[in-house]
Amino acid sequence: MRYKAYAATMQSVWFSDDEGKSWNRLLTPTGGFYNEARVWAVHTHMDRPGDLLAGTDQGLYRFSEVTGRFEYIPSPMDSLHILQIAQDPHDPNFIVCGTRPGEIFISEDNGENWTRATLNASTECWFINTSRVTSIHFDPKDRDTIWITVEIDGVIRSTDRGKTWELIIRGLHDNDTHDLVFRDYKDGRRTILCSTEDGAHKSIDNGATWEQLKIPLAKWDYFRSLKQPAENSDIVIASVGDKPSGEAGNLLISQDFGETWDICTMSHKVNSTIWSIGTNAADTSLLFAATIFGQIFKSTDTGKSWNKVDRELGEIRMITWAPI
């Protein structure tokens, strides 16, 4: 399978088409995009191979393998920081973007028109002053439900495709929330895990209440990225760091959706919190992970062990990969 890996950095989007060995940016004169733009989000959709959406400080952009360059997508978000992008798994024309300040913008026509959702996220928050969207998830079972995490505000859910939203934080030790993963069992039970600044939390009542997980193996409290290599998998990988941005971090892996955890094997010392883990259903054994300070790790055994690639980039905010 031929694939590309993509890294969103504070100096544009970096591409690797040789399994992570080498990384390059597009040329500014031909790439359609300033090479020192700050990029927080890169997003692909399985129905649009070769396309990549990028959230930046200059607006929203779409890269195409056909043209080999970025196209600017006019939107109301040009003056905001576009931190998160998601597309409905069943409809790539339905795009949801999350920004700093904490706002949600929705397009139902592939970016042609945008609506600013009536998301009542905090307008000011402790410590980081300005709230921001840290993850967006389409509910695996209910197409009308969208979940987001906002730091610093909590878990926020819409059950009508983004028209109305409710804050669901009961039981969270900390509403500095970062990421979510979902496990739906055949008997109808559901478990959701949420990463926060103060550990991982679990909900068994669809987010109505949360309970902090006890994970003695975790060296630190700061949980950032949560990922399942495959949708609805029991396997969960969690990134943990000493703090944001941090000076150390590691990855934990659970084979039973958060009941027990092991420490992943890392080939090198991790230089800061692992900010992002990239998965793709096309190959659930292949994952990339990136520290906020530029290290890239790759796993080919579904996250058990990770090898650092030689190339380091600047500040990495998100990493992902997709077949092309």
Binding site: T28, P29, T30, G31, G32, F33, Y34, Q58, G59, T67, R69, F70, E71, Y72, P74, S75, P76, D78, N113, W114, R116, T118, N120, A121, S122, T123, E124, C125, W126, F127, S131, I152, D153, G154, I169, L172, H173, D174, N175, D176, E197, D198
Partner: protein, 189 residues
């Protein structure tokens, strides 16, 4: 001291896109100087019911050759410039065939005439200049079509009424969110 930082995406004749950031600090609409603070590149605007929108095109001074961009003028004030642009020197002799919303630029005012009136020559005009030529037909979009290279640039405004509130009658109060709820923390407010 006011300025507008224009961040165009300039499409070349072979599809390349260059992205220089340009400081604009002098703007003329149909030859009349206007405040640079009226210039924007937003696609989404709030308007009064009585506001009319007019298609236009803009000529922007730039080192590698002046740019041409579609624009929309709201009322007599707001100058809404697209971030998409071509270079005039890629159009050359064909510029008269370029249309704005179906109207030939030669039937409006050719870029060369605008530039000449502003003290420039050919595709060169004074640094920091933006020249706007406005059509008389009303429209919320401006589309430049280059029939020679078979390409187009479109700037489409999405308008909502000032009287409308997206929250309806239930606009909430601003919220301050506390971080670690289970810890004693210092507040900085």
């Amino acid at each position: 001291m006011s300025l507008f930082l224009f961040k165009p995406h300039i499409e070349g004749p072979e599809g390349n896109i260059t992205t220089p950031d340009v400081v604009i600090d002098r703007v003329f609409v149909n030859g009349v100087p206007k405040s640079i603070n009226l210039v924007n590149t937003e696609s989404y605007h709030e308007v009064d019911e009585s506001d009319l929108a007019y298609p236009a095109y803009g000529i922007i001074a730039l080192g590698g050759g002046a740019l041409i961009s579609p624009a929309v003028i709201i009322g007599s004030e707001r100058i809404c410039l697209s971030r998409m642009a071509w270079r005039l020197n890629n159009l050359n002799e064909n510029v008269g065939a370029v249309t704005l919303n179906g109207i030939s630029l030669s039937a409006l005012k050719l870029p060369a005439n605008l530039i000449e009136a502003a003290g420039g020559v050919g595709d060169t005009l004074p640094r920091g200049y933006l020249l706007i030529c406005v059509a008389s037909e009303t429209s919320t979009h401006a589309t430049l079509v280059d029939p020679t290279l078979k390409r187009e640039l479109r700037h489409r405004l999405k308008l909502s009424l000032i009287s409308e509130d997206r929250w309806g009658g239930v606009r909430p109060l601003p919220r301050y969110s506390v971080g670690p709820m289970m810890k004693d923390i210092p507040h900085f407010i």
